[in-house]
């Protein structure tokens, strides 16, 4: 058994035990996740790798409270979220989690600033201060002159930066990223990954799904999945 006592004093932000997700497809049951235990410490940078069908996306969806597990428990920031009702889950998503998607998923009819402010709106937290914060975040990700642009007027890299700013607006402690650089060329990929490094340096936990070894190499820990189970875990070699 590996020694994980480094962070023993701190409760993990994510703790899952025996997590299973079983789909029924045409009368046949498929276990997308077959009993997973996983802890993510505060401020940890975790990458999930695996071929398609390995269950890595299912795991991320469950972590993001977008889907419900068939069995098992999931504690997010100390609370058991596997038993919450839909409205509370919505609050949890908006308040404690930040999402970064592969295809950016900005809302096309809204401007850059309005897109960043969407999570604030659903938390009922639109004050002059928080709206000011949207501008600061947009400036931070390098979109100072483009506050009123629509997503269509932006490049892929710029759109992903808007998505990052949006993920940060409610100050979540955990960022969930689903192949955030999957649609980007290598130069902008470097940009976005550097930005993720910054978030990590600020003390946020990051869980990122990727299939790129090069991307995963930036994480503290990489779990490799196969057939709905964690196959092996590798740690970043200390410099």
């Amino acid at each position: 058994m590996l020694d994980l006592t480094d962070g023993v004093a701190m409760d993990p932000v994510i703790r899952i035990r025996g997590l299973e997700k079983i789909y029924t497809l045409g009368g046949e049951t498929v276990a997308a996740l077959a009993g997973i235990d996983l802890d993510v410490a505060p401020g940890e940078y975790l990458a999930i790798m695996g071929s398609s069908g390995s269950g890595k996306s299912t795991l991320l969806n469950l972590l993001g409270c977008l889907d419900r597990p068939t069995r098992g428990s999931y504690h997010l920031g100390g609370d058991d979220v596997s038993k919450l009702d839909d409205d509370t889950l919505s609050r949890v998503r908006g308040k404690r989690l930040g999402f970064i998607f592969q295809s950016y998923n900005l809302i096309p009819q809204l401007t850059v600033l309005e897109n960043i402010a969407v999570p604030l709106y659903y938390q009922g937290n639109e004050t002059p201060e928080t709206l000011q914060r949207c501008k600061e975040l947009a400036a931070m990700v390098g979109l100072s002159g483009r506050f009123d642009h629509r997503p269509k007027q932006l490049s892929g890299g710029q759109q992903q930066r808007v998505a990052i700013a949006r993920a940060l607006v409610n100050e979540p402690l955990t960022i969930l990223a689903d192949e955030p650089t999957g649609n980007l060329d290598s130069a902008t990929e470097e940009d976005v990954l550097a930005m993720m490094d910054n978030l990590h340096a600020e003390g946020r936990a990051i869980v990122m799904v990727t299939h790129d070894e090069h991307v995963a190499a930036r994480a503290d820990r990489v779990i490799h999945m196969k057939d709905g189970q964690i196959q092996r875990t590798t740690y970043k070699t200390p410099v």
């Binding site: 969806n61 409205d87 919505s90 908006g94 998923n105 009819q109 659903y122 409610n170």
Partner: protein, 421 residues
Amino acid sequence: MILRFHRTLSLGVKNLLLHKVRSCLTMLGIVFGVGSVIAMLAVGEGASQEASRSIASLGSSNIILESVEPPREPDNPLQTGSKPPLWTQKYGLTEADRARITNTIPNVIRVHPETERTDEVMSASSRQRAILHATWPECPEIRNIQRIEGRFFTQLELERAMPVCVISPSLRRKLFPFGSAVGEFVRIEGDYYTIVGEYSPGASEVEDEGKEGAETVARDDILYLPINTARARVTSFIYGRTQYDTLVVQTTGTQHVSAIGESIESLMDHTHADHDFRIVVPLELLAQARKTQRLFNVIIGSIAAISLLVGGIGIMNIMLATVTERTREIGVRRALGARRVDIVSQFLVETVVISLVGGLTGVLVGLGIPGIITSLTNLPTVVTASSVLFSVIVSVLIGVVFGIYPARRAASLDPIDALRM
């Protein structure tokens, strides 16, 4: 809270403006639904008010008896000797009836006789066929005719059967085109009559230019005469088959009208076995007209309900398409913390805005159409505030009712399913 509502509203409007053509087409159903409801109710209300007014002008506390030509009996050769030929046979209401009703039936103030004939009236310069309306001096108050100039004939002139008459504006224009006729004379069958006044028969004052042909008699070309004068001097009155065409029974009030009508009927039945008269009770006509109007309104209401239903289904159709198209957006919003109720309200706001804007546009259409109808067909139309209010409320309700299903469908998706789209 207000800010939140404002954001939901502005988001909805923004989404609608993003698809202007689609939104306008969606609205069209409601626009014409609401417009036609208001227009139809306006036509109905106009017709109803017109009917009520014309019935009310007969006087709601009056009862009207009319002479009716008795049904022709089959030609029986045995009877031809005993009865005068049909074309000279007298029928209808007589002075005896008038006196009997006045004297025997309680709550009757006065029984006012009227007889009308058509005859040629001549002035110094022209001649014109006109209606000779022979009556009593109380005619202006009973028939609600309006004084324009001069006076009506008096009780004394009636009793002495003096040769005086009162002219209607329409006839006056034809006989005396250059100004006042009071003090002038007209000639009927060789007798001269002094015109003492000009009285207008009221609402239906229609100009009929170019119809000066001697044979046509305009409804408004009327000459009022004292009935005794007419019966003493004018041939068509002397030899007419009826003594009185009409008896207007004035009663003390509306509460007795129906009962008096019945007692007059039974009284008359004794003396007029062949039933050569008819009783009209304006109050009952009015009640009948109201009943008809209610039925009419129900029919209009059903047609309107169907057209609004069609408009509503149009909205629902488009919103379902919109929901499908924006499933991914819904998933994203859910991931970013939107509750189901947030999604429902977002889509609901859109349908309500569409149907409210459509409803208000429909009100404008509905205010415009009756004006066009009136100017084209002369039918009276009355737009009531209640019909406008009703249709706006209904259009908003339609937005809610037909918007709630698409909105709920949008929100019922699991976030992960919505995101996968």
